[in-house]
């Protein structure tokens, strides 16, 4: 940290720091956003606070590792495999756990605690299969390109590019397609959507495909951008909850804004405090957000109770 003190006073270097932390913030914020949209959709439509969502992401990262490194296939194939694998995992858990539990009238907290059990199982099965050693995907992490006054790495371009494409795709899906509109209708009111003739079972299936697929993608991007360990997703999960609450629970566009805001605040904070406090800053933002804007940055005041 010592060199940073020397830099103070030179406006050019400070601009450089700001630019670098902004790019990093957008990259990590995109990962939060991808994770947050899936988790938020599942919560809004199924009333499930899924604590296993982070471990869904981790699984995506490891599936990509298996395909990309163990089998030596290109990254694109690895991403596709991860997205499919986690979407399938979402569907399987829906069939085996969540649907039967909803049928029995399980409460919110009962489902939440169950998802914690599932998170333990998934994380430790991953640990059992791939050990705790940290892994890397086969991406050139030294390549970088000059842009104006700063440099941007291939990793940052990959993460931001793929995340942006996915986020635009999700946005179009939710606003322009029948399935997407149905999802938003279900998240507003499951019963009203059902009586208005929407095939809710089909929408629930698509919700898990979309939420799981996005979690898988977020897991691969997190594995590209950071290091892949069995705890990766769990560590990201708190940030993802923070992003959702920042954006307003149940609002997928809010989750996007919340994710980016969180990523930027965490990275910008490293210009002022030790980077080891980055996570703590993110949680502090979460607590402040809940105190002052409990309905999220984009939310409206509502009657509770």
């Amino acid at each position: 940290m010592a060199p940073r003190a020397v830099r103070v006073g030179s406006a050019r270097f400070r601009m450089d720091d700001l630019l670098q932390t902004t790019i990093n913030g957008i990259a990590s914020g995109s990962i939060y956003a991808l994770g947050a949209i899936g988790l938020s959709l599942v919560y809004a439509i199924l009333k499930l606070v899924n604590f296993a969502h982070g471990d869904f992401m981790t699984l995506g990262g490891y599936v990509a590792f298996a395909v990309n490194v163990s089998l030596g296939m290109p990254l694109v194939v690895a991403i596709a495999a991860a997205v499919v694998a986690v979407a399938v995992l979402g569907l399987v858990t829906e069939e085996l756990i969540w649907r039967p539990m909803r049928k029995r009238g399980a409460g919110l907290m009962q489902m939440l605690l169950l998802s914690i059990g599932l998170a333990f199982v998934l994380r430790n099965l991953i640990l059992l299969t791939w050990t705790g050693e940290s892994r890397k995907l086969n991406v050139d992490d030294t390549a970088s390109y000059g842009i104006g006054i700063g440099r941007v790495s291939l990793l940052q371009i990959l993460v931001i590019g793929i995340a942006a494409a996915a986020l635009v795709g999700v946005g179009l899906l939710l606003t322009r397609t029948y399935v997407g509109k149905s999802m938003r209708a279900l998240s507003d009111s499951f019963d009203l959507a059902e009586v208005s003739g929407i095939d809710t079972k089909r929408v629930v299936t698509y919700t898990w495909i979309l939420g799981g697929g996005l979690a898988g993608l977020a897991g691969v991007l997190a594995a590209v951008f950071t290091t892949l360990t069995p705890n990766m997703g769990w560590t990201l999960l708190l940030g993802i909850f923070a992003a959702i609450i920042l954006g307003g629970i149940g609002n997928p566009f809010g989750a996007l804004v919340g994710g980016l805001a969180l990523g930027l605040v965490q990275e910008w904070s490293t210009n002022f405090v030790e980077p080891t406090y980055k996570e703590a800053i993110g949680f502090a933002v979460l607590i402040l957000a809940l105190l002052f804007r409990p309905n999220g940055l984009l939310g409206h005041a509502t009657r509770t109770g």
Partner: protein
């Protein structure tokens, strides 16, 4: 492995179980009695442990440090509760994990004071020499050679028993009836003129102080403290104990903590044809499956009462 060494190991496992029992008794006050889904409980244990450690390493006698450590944990409970207790259940759960993580990250980063990841050494102060005095007294006066871990084992379970009895006693008081009413229906309690917010805050502080005691005992057991001892997983092992034993049942907490501690540490003695790290992972797969199975098929746990269960 000699039988004496094996006994020492089991004494260790049972001491850990006792510390978990106390930790979860505090959690029971929050979750079972008041309906507060506290996912950051480990922070209160960390507060008890590190404030004991920091006081004794700075010259405060252990006996004076212990009540102060409880007070610190209770104050942390108030500090966390003041802004968060008005939040909805699932928000409260997430914010309490966040608060616990902030505390752990701060302990980790304040290396000058806490030793950071290098650990806080000699955190148990005068305990090791006092322990030796106890062992010598037993040998000289009674001619009994005690295993060195036995005194703490007995103390831990005595403390757990006293706390459980106190909680049962409090259980018959109007205060606890009001807490349970808060759990059942907050609006009705408020309408009856009871101060709901204060009741919750008091419950949070009481449970936090109890977790602080578990932190003190943890410090005596381990002598050195590390931030990674207080990761969120500890809270969730606590929840596994609570869920298995039964939300709302103090006896369930005791049994649950022994069962789960044996799953975590005890299976070390069974011969698995697997590497040690794989066995460790398998233990937590089992704990996860227990949580899932209990939540799916017997959400009230082994000893909980179904009519007292509120998981909405």
């Amino acid at each position: 492995m000699g039988p004496l060494l094996a006994f020492g190991f089991w004494a260790y496992v049972l001491t850990v179980a006792g510390i978990y029992a106390i930790f979860v008794l505090g959690l029971q006050v929050h979750v079972g009695d008041t309906g507060l889904l506290n996912f950051g409980h480990v922070a209160f244990m960390a507060a008890g442990a590190y404030s004991t450690g920091l006081m004794v390493t700075n010259g405060v006698p252990l006996l004076a440090a212990i009540p102060l450590a409880m007070l610190v944990a209770a104050l942390l409970g108030v500090l966390v509760g003041l802004p968060t207790l008005r939040l909805r259940g699932d928000y409260f759960a997430i914010v309490t994990i966040a608060a616990g993580e902030i505390l752990r990250i701060m302990i980790q980063n304040q290396q000058g004071a806490t030793g950071g990841t290098l650990g806080l050494r000699k955190a148990s102060g005068g305990w090791p020499s006092f322990n030796r005095d106890i062992l010598r007294w037993f040998e000289d006066t009674l001619g009994i050679e005690l295993e060195r871990r036995v005194p703490l084992l007995v103390i831990t379970w005595l403390v757990a028993l006293v706390i459980a009895l106190l909680l049962v006693r409090i259980g018959r008081s109007p205060w606890r009836r009001a807490l349970r009413a808060v759990r059942e229906n907050e609006d009705a309690v408020a309408a009856a003129g009871k101060p709901v917010f204060q009741l919750k805050l008091q419950a949070l502080a009481l449970g936090a102080a109890i977790a602080g005691v578990s932190g003190v005992l943890f410090t005596l057991l381990q002598t050195s403290l590390y931030p990674e001892n207080f990761e969120p997983i500890v809270t969730f092992v606590g929840f596994a104990i609570l869920i298995l034993g039964g939300i709302g049942s103090y006896f369930g907490v005791v049994l649950g903590s022994i069962l789960i501690s044996f799953i975590i540490s005890g299976v070390r003695f069974l011969d698995f044809p697997l590497a040690a790290d794989k066995v460790a992972a398998l233990r937590f797969v089992v704990i996860g499956l227990i949580i899932m199975a209990v939540m799916a098929f017997r959400p009230q746990g082994l000893f909980g009462k179904k009519e007292e269960l509120h998981l909405d």
